[in-house]
């Protein structure tokens, strides 16, 4: 019984995770309030500028999460502990989500300000290449049938992909510099204090959101692994006791898993 109880306890979120989720939600709401009402519209761009309060935080988060993928991949190869692989996987999934968001938000911002959805600016191009690399990383994660092999393969990719980032960035920077210089944003110097505050709150809120999503995904990953290992080797303890005729199906586990 005690094992079943322990399992049920770990199915649902722990208190820390819930607190993290609430903090992230509060931070996102605060970002929305600051970005939409408290901060003034930009002198040049007007209200379109407000997209910066989500665009920059999501870009920062994408890069952070790919760094975590790299660090977790190194840690996995060094220690061979599966939790590092789960962390890399969770971080990569969240990272791909946010880098996709960065690209979409950037396009929405570019259209009214630059007049185009896309320009081959070094930062944009690097971001797009990164997006593709980590989509490939996630695709490879689905390939191998053994968890150990999957962990080793994806750790290798997680390391090499991150090492590749500076070279990609350098190459597209030089590539672009032979053409007309792109209209880069120089926002920092002429920023009002409330704008900087909005941006900082946004970055903090998105970082909390990242931590929450990764924690959540880690828990789901643990449950996935347990479900697989139990499907492969059904536990024998409940049946080893002298069984009484009424065949009660081992339902409680499943019910609790759904709830």
């Amino acid at each position: 019984m005690s094992t079943a109880e322990r399992m049920m306890g770990r199915l649902t979120a722990r208190r820390g995770e819930k607190v993290l989720g609430l903090l992230a939600a509060a931070g996102v709401i605060a970002t929305a309030v600051l970005g939409l009402w408290v901060t003034p519209p930009d002198a040049d761009e007007g209200n379109v500028f407000r997209i910066i309060y989500v665009h920059v935080p999501s870009a920062w988060l994408a890069y952070l999460s790919f760094f975590i993928v790299f660090a977790a991949s190194v840690a996995y190869l060094a220690t061979k502990r599966i939790r590092w692989d789960r962390l890399a996987a969770a971080s990569a999934e969240v990272g791909v989500l946010f880098i996709g968001l960065t690209l979409v938000l950037g396009s929405i911002w570019a259209k009214p300000t630059w007049g185009i959805w896309w320009t081959w600016d070094p930062r944009l191009t690097t971001t797009a290449v990164l997006f593709l690399i980590y989509v490939g990383y996630l695709a490879v994660r689905r390939l191998p049938d053994s968890p150990a092999k999957r962990a080793r393969w994806s750790a290798a990719i997680g390391i090499v992909a991150f090492v590749d980032v500076p070279i990609v960035h350098l190459s597209v920077t030089w590539w672009r510099s032979q053409h007309q210089a792109p209209a880069l944003l120089h926002v920092a110097p002429r920023m009002a204090a409330s704008m900087a505050a909005g941006l900082l709150v946004g970055v903090a809120a998105f970082t909390l959101l990242y931590a929450y999503l990764v924690t959540f995904r880690l828990r789901v990953g643990r449950l996935e692994d347990r479900a697989i290992s139990e499907a492969l080797s059904p536990r024998l303890e409940p049946r080893s006791a002298p069984v009484e005729p009424p065949p009660t199906p081992p339902a409680p586990k499943e019910v609790s898993a759904r709830g």
Partner: protein, 224 residues
């Protein structure tokens, strides 16, 4: 030097397979030729446009052909449990990586000579000017591609990876090779070979990073 000898043995084995099977000659080279024809058709018969885009098309053909070559390098290992034999062989796993990279690089270089000849003929690309820059760009770019392909070709061992996932992974990782290779080639073929130094340096950096990362990481990919 043990690692070197083992790598050479590995490369020799792969090249022997290729010489006897002639897969690159019979399948990859015609594929590259088809690509070039299709590129030419899609861009129309205008001579200047084709001349301007020729370096890019050339490198695209090399890139796509190299994907086939990497997969081929590991297909042979998937047959008859050859990979298990390789795992059990008393050799450094890094030698497998370096040897396979060397073998693929040799095949690609031979392929590139043919592809360049085709491009010169089809798109009227002039090779004069800076032959050393051109050769440097192709040799360095090929080493980088071979390192990426030898490292991740292992993944093609999984049957589901053979279709789209392998190119999905390899092509974005290899974007610096494409960019630097195309730029160096177009500078060399337009008589501005002297300005290509930075691009060649970038290719050297890419090669070193991927050869080093591959040597370190590859043993984990192969381990079972």
């Amino acid at each position: 030097m043990n690692l070197l000898r083992q790598s050479v043995a590995m490369a020799a084995k792969d090249l022997r397979i290729e010489l006897r099977g002639r897969y690159a000659l019979s399948a990859i080279l015609p594929f590259a030729g088809t690509l070039l024809i299709v590129f030419g058709l899609s861009l129309g018969p205008g001579r200047t446009l084709l001349q301007e885009t020729a370096p890019g098309l050339l490198w695209l053909a090399v890139l796509f052909a190299s994907v086939l070559a990497f997969r081929r390098a590991y297909e042979a290992e998937g047959e008859d449990g050859a990979l298990e034999g390789l795992l059990l062989a008393p050799m450094d796993k890094a030698a497998v990586f370096l040897g396979k990279a060397a073998a693929v690089a040799a095949q690609l270089l031979a392929l590139e000579v043919a592809v360049i000849t085709l491009v010169v003929g089809l798109f009227d690309l002039s090779l004069g000017g800076a032959p050393f820059v051109l050769a440097g760009a192709f040799v360095l770019g090929t080493v980088g591609l071979a390192a990426v392909g030898s490292l991740f070709g292992v993944l093609a061992e999984s049957p589901r990876a053979r279709e789209a996932i392998f190119p999905l992974l390899v092509l974005p990782l290899a974007t610096p090779v494409l960019v630097a290779g195309v730029k160096a080639t177009s500078l060399a073929t337009t008589g501005r070979g002297g300005q290509a130094g930075g691009w060649l340096g970038l290719l050297v950096a890419f090669d070193l990073v991927f050869l080093a990362a591959g040597t370190l990481v590859y043993p984990y990919l192969l381990e079972d």
